[in-house]
């Protein structure tokens, strides 16, 4: 299990990286936590790798009044540990705790995970749930922002073009009065989830639910975002009945059977975890309002 040979390039600026990527038709090397195993299994043999790890400035975490901005080299662990990001948007840390094991998070990047677009990965779903943005640069067409609604195209397939470097991602803060949660079940602790559900619930001053949505992983080719506001809106938090929301989720997902779970079992988990996630997000909203 050794990778095939490749040409190695070490740019020191984003512009240089984009240029090398276009010129070599190679691949970006970020944390390598997804790329290197598949190269070692020779399931991928890119002719060239453009290593972002020595480009200065890409690891920053910027928490502004509206969003958490991360760079292409922000490691999962750094984002998870960042208290400002947690205060502004606790969902980031909650979801990151389910991304692999801590050792993988020390090296793997959140942007890399988003670009890799694994339908079982947590952070693409978080980006989608929050309506985030990926910033991309190509040497030919320059910079563009890609909305998360357009970013995830299929399993392991994103809207990023082969010559584009994803340089940053933006996670907008959830609105005031909101609560969030991540619920997931995996076979072993640290494995990709059999099903995972991120949830965002917004309450008004009267503690009525004004909006509620969930985003699920491992139940389709891309993260599945379901707006369940209509199934609940107007009800106060303690009177809410999520049954109709579970039906909406059930209708929206299309899970497959594999060696770890049948499709029917995944549907069951999607229902149970959606219920749990919505309840936790609601409780979180109440707690945050109270605080």
């Amino acid at each position: 299990m050794k990778p095939a040979p490749f040409a190695y390039h070490r740019p020191s600026t984003v512009a240089e990286a984009a240029q090398l990527l276009a010129a070599t038709q190679g691949k970006i090397l970020a944390g390598g936590q997804s790329l290197i195993p598949i190269m070692s299994m020779r399931l991928a043999s890119p002719a060239a790798l453009v290593d972002l790890n020595h480009v200065p400035g890409l690891a920053a975490i910027d928490v502004t009044s509206t969003a958490v901005h991360i760079g292409a080299l922000t490691r999962h662990a750094a984002l998870e540990a960042n208290d400002a990001a947690y205060l502004a948007n606790p969902l980031l840390r909650r979801a990151l705790r389910h991304v692999a094991h801590a050792t993988i998070r020390n090296r793997g990047t959140t942007v890399g995970s988003i670009v890799h677009a694994d339908p079982a990965a947590e952070m693409p779903a978080v980006l989608r749930l929050l309506g985030g943005i990926v910033e991309a640069v190509s040497s030919e067409r320059g910079h563009r922002s890609i909305d998360s609604a357009d970013f995830f195209v299929g399993p392991l397939e994103s809207a990023l073009q082969p010559d584009e470097v994803a340089v940053a991602a933006t996670f907008p803060h959830p609105p005031g009065g909101s609560g969030s949660s991540w619920a997931e079940i995996s076979r072993r602790h640290g494995d990709y989830g059999l099903v995972g559900v991120g949830s965002l619930v917004v309450l008004d001053e009267g503690r009525r639910i004004t909006s509620a949505s969930v985003c699920l992983i491992s139940v389709g080719g891309t993260p599945v975002l379901v707006d369940v506001t209509d199934a609940s809106s107007g009800t106060t938090y303690d009177a809410v009945d999520w049954t109709a929301a579970l039906e909406l989720v059930d209708a929206a997902i299309d899970p497959e059977s594999d060696i770890h779970a049948t499709a029917a079992y995944r549907r069951q988990l999607a229902r149970v975890l959606t219920g749990r996630a919505l309840a936790q997000a609601t409780a979180d909203a109440i707690a945050r309002v109270a605080a």
Binding site: M1, I185, G190, H260, Q268
Partner: protein
């Protein structure tokens, strides 16, 4: 007095080296050796039409590509059938490199030798093999149908059919008040040591000798096999087992194709050659175990006494049978556990499939047998409305019935006679440990919280310490240190510590003066290997006997020197002294000097043994008749038959009513492995075994598709438990010494794994209220079972 080491929690002598990164595992050796990678079949069953290497020949760093046609002499023959058995009428073994046909994904077709493994893999990718696909036979049902054949000359895919019977089971079952049947299955798992296999071979053309390192559980037998296959005189071949990163059975199989091919290539190329198995290779070309289907019929009386038991089972042996019928024979005999079956008939068929070979994995057929027997006990209890432990107690062999002869033939070809054990006492301890009698109140309390819990119990007996023999060599050096060697190998069981403890007590020498070597044929040439929980019994006994022999000689020489009688001497802390008068003493190093009459002195110590040093008796030769120079000895231990350890596990689980997640809340073990040499090591063995039992019950399986592709050939998808999946284990011991060996010990290596699936299945069944007949079980499968039962 020197402190007694036997029975103490002595810290392991091997640890400081392993902990500081100074271990020497196979791939830590031979950094300059050429490296090997293999072209392995991507198909489960195919004829090889053509192997085209032309595209690969220009790769820089390529040294050689070999296919079957390049082999010569006895390397062209099929690999040996290691354990023949009269019932194995259609035994088949593979060639070192596939000849015309491949029979499982992963079978080696071509061997590439290159400057390093990276380049070797590049070359592998460029070799084109043309195949003609044949139908793949996967799974016991497909194989049993016999429609398609794995080997064209093996009708019905049946490698062997074997029957054993005591009493007339059919009649006894028919006559019993109650009768029932069960269909039970267990899936495949694998030993899966953290270190794969590996071989390093160095041919010395000047010395005309081969030095081979291999990550094996039997270096002595590899040596014989390699010498035979390479047509080398045995004394030109030495095999060394370096540190081994776990074995659990898979490394007892030998010679693996690579163990022949790597030295063969080293000889041809005149350069060191190394092969280190990677994880993917390990999944598809090393061995698996456990896959069996069982049909059970049994009769019992109103009190729950088993009157007759009839078991038919089908064993999936994979593509070849190099290890004979050991696994199914163990299932068929050890199935009985601590119970008297009334009459018993067992019949099995060993079947070929186009999958990786099946050979013993820790537990070796016992987990399946235990699962069957314990499911029978639970079924009787359920039917009669009896407490499950009561049914077990009623069927136990009683202590006063020991030794107990089952009337069957065990895996070593010897009668299945239990030497000792007190099963009622063990069960009583277990019930107390887990709180069996209080469980119903715990269950109600949990139910009140909306939680669903269950408890299960399973008992086993394990034949350990099987023969034929092991030996030990021991020498006291002139500096007073003691070097010990035994032929069998070590894969982490702490043999060096355990054997040093025995020697320390036998000789009266402190542990830090003792060095133990295992698995090095340069040091000890006669051995069988490490398997079947046999080291403490076999090598432990052999080393103890050897130490006694050397001690006797030391006392004899010291008696002479001290002008005392042997009977008045003792050895304390490395000194021979006259009992009660420690002033009159001689250290063992000096005794060693005296044991070796010298002509030449090279240091002050040696001077004492030279010919003019002291007046000698001129009437006897310097080395008397029937004696030999040196303070050393060799002895062997060969038991009449196996010893039988036993144990019982109780498990409490919680199953989530919504998600069907299965959580182990308690895991309790009562364990009897006879006299315990080092309780710390024994507990460690139990912990590790239980973790493998939990893995086998809830996480691990080999997922083959119908085409014979192994779908989960990685650690990502073959779910070996992490710490988060293994429960805290509570242990209690019982010690019923074995009367069969000088130490009273029984084996402990495999015990922990055996009842895992049985006990966990019972606990889940208890929580869910429906029968569990197939293991392992995942939450998804439990969910589907619930749906099926709800739909009824």
């Amino acid at each position: 007095m020197t402190t007694k080491m036997f029975g103490q929690r002595v810290p392991r002598v091997e640890d400081p080296r392993l902990l500081s990164g100074q271990g020497r595992y196979l791939d830590d050796l031979g950094h300059d050796a050429l490296e090997v990678a293999f072209v392995r079949s991507p198909h489960a069953h195919a004829r090889i039409v053509d192997v085209d290497v032309s595209a690969a020949l220009d790769v820089e760093g390529l040294v050689a590509i070999y296919t079957y046609d390049d082999l010569d002499g006895r390397t062209t023959e099929p690999l040996p059938l290691l354990i023949p058995h009269p019932a194995l009428t259609h035994g088949r073994t593979p060639y070192a490199l596939a000849k015309d046909e491949v029979n499982h994904v992963g079978e080696a077709i071509a061997m590439v030798v290159a400057s390093d493994r990276y380049v070797a893999e590049d070359v592998v990718g460029l070799i084109q093999v043309e195949y003609e696909l044949l139908p793949a036979v996967v799974g016991i049902e497909r194989s049993r149908d016999g429609g398609d054949l794995v080997h064209a000359d093996v009708p019905g895919n049946v490698a062997a059919t074997m029957v054993q019977e005591v009493g007339d089971a059919a009649t006894m079952i028919a006559a019993a008040g109650h009768r029932a049947t069960l269909s039970l299955s267990i899936e495949r798992s694998a030993s899966m040591p953290m270190e794969g296999k590996g071989v390093l071979a160095r041919w010395d053309p000047d010395d005309e000798s081969l030095l081979m390192h291999t990550s094996t559980q039997t270096s002595t037998s590899v040596r014989q096999a390699v010498a035979a296959k390479l047509s080398l005189p045995v004394d030109r071949v030495e095999v060394v087992t370096p540190d081994v990163g776990g074995g659990f059975g898979v490394k007892i199989v030998h010679p693996w194709p690579e163990e022949i091919l790597v030295p063969w290539a080293a000889l041809r190329l005149g350069q060191p050659v190394k092969w280190v198995e990677d994880r993917r290779e390990h999944f598809v070309s090393s061995a698996h175990e456990r896959g069996q289907l069982h049909e059970v019929e049994f009769g019992y009386d109103d009190d729950g006494h088993l009157r007759g038991l009839s078991v038919r089972f089908w064993h999936d042996n994979g593509a070849y049978t190099p290890y004979g019928l050991i696994v199914p024979i163990i299932t068929s005999t050890q199935l009985l556990g601590p119970y008297k079956p009334g009459a018993y008939r067992v019949e099995f068929q060993s079947l070929y499939t186009n999958t990786v070979i099946v050979t013993p994995y820790r537990g070796a057929g016992r987990p399946q047998g235990c699962f069957v027997m314990e499911r029978v006990m639970d079924a009787i209890a359920a039917d009669l409305g009896l407490d499950r432990t009561v049914v077990r107690e009623r069927n136990f062999i009683q202590p006063e019935e020991m030794p107990f002869d089952h009337g069957l033939i065990f895996q070593d070809g010897r009668p299945l006679i239990y030497d000792s054990g007190d099963f009622p006492a063990s069960l009583a301890k277990l019930k107390a440990l887990v709180g069996w009698d209080d469980f119903e109140s715990y269950r109600s309390a949990a139910r009140a919280e909306g939680r669903q819990v269950g408890i299960g119990v399973a008992c086993y007996v394990e034949g350990t310490g099987v023969g034929p023999y092991e030996g030990g060599h021991l020498r006291i050096e002139t500096d007073g240190s003691v070097v010990v060697s035994t032929g069998l190998t070590t894969q982490g069981q702490g043999h060096q510590t355990m054997l040093a403890q025995i020697v320390a007590d036998e000789l009266g020498v402190s542990m830090d003066r003792i060095r133990v070597t295992t698995g090095d044929t340069r040091r000890f040439k006669y051995a069988v290997g490490t398997f079947a929980s046999r080291t403490a019994v076999m090598s432990g006994s052999a080393v103890a006997l050897t130490a006694r022999k050397v001690r006797a000689k030391a006392l004899r020489i010291a008696a002479n020197a001290l002008e005392a009688s042997v009977d008045d001497l003792e050895i304390v802390d490395g000194h021979v002294q006259v009992k009660g008068s420690p002033g009159s003493q001689i250290d063992l190093g000096a005794v060693a000097v005296l044991s070796n009459p010298l002509r030449y002195a090279f240091d002050a110590g040696a001077t004492r043994a030279t010919q003019f040093a002291a007046p000698a008796d001129p009437s006897v030769p310097p080395v008397p008749e029937n004696d030999q120079p040196g303070l050393e000895g060799t002895d062997y231990y060969s038991p009449l038959r196996s010893t039988f350890a036993n144990g019982m596990h109780a498990v409490v689980v919680e199953t989530d009513p919504e998600t069907a997640e299965i959580k182990i809340l308690r895991y309790c073990v009562v364990h009897d492995c006879g006299t315990v040499i080092n309780p710390m090591i024994v507990e460690g063995q139990v912990h590790g075994g239980v973790a493998q039992g939990v893995g086998g019950a809830l996480y691990e399986r080999m997922e083959y598709d119908a085409a014979g592709q192994l779908l989960n050939a990685s650690y990502m998808d073959f779910l070996m438990p992490y710490a988060s999946e293994v429960p805290h284990i509570e242990i209690d011991h019982l010690e019923t010494p074995s009367p069969l060996n000088p130490l009273g010990v029984k084996g402990a290596g495999e015990a922990g794994v055996i009842p895992g699936s049985a006990a966990i299945a019972a606990a889940i069944e208890d929580a869910e209220g429906f029968a569990i007949a197939a293991m392992p079980i995942s939450p998804s499968e439990l969910f589907e079972l619930r749906r099926r039962h709800a739909g009824r």
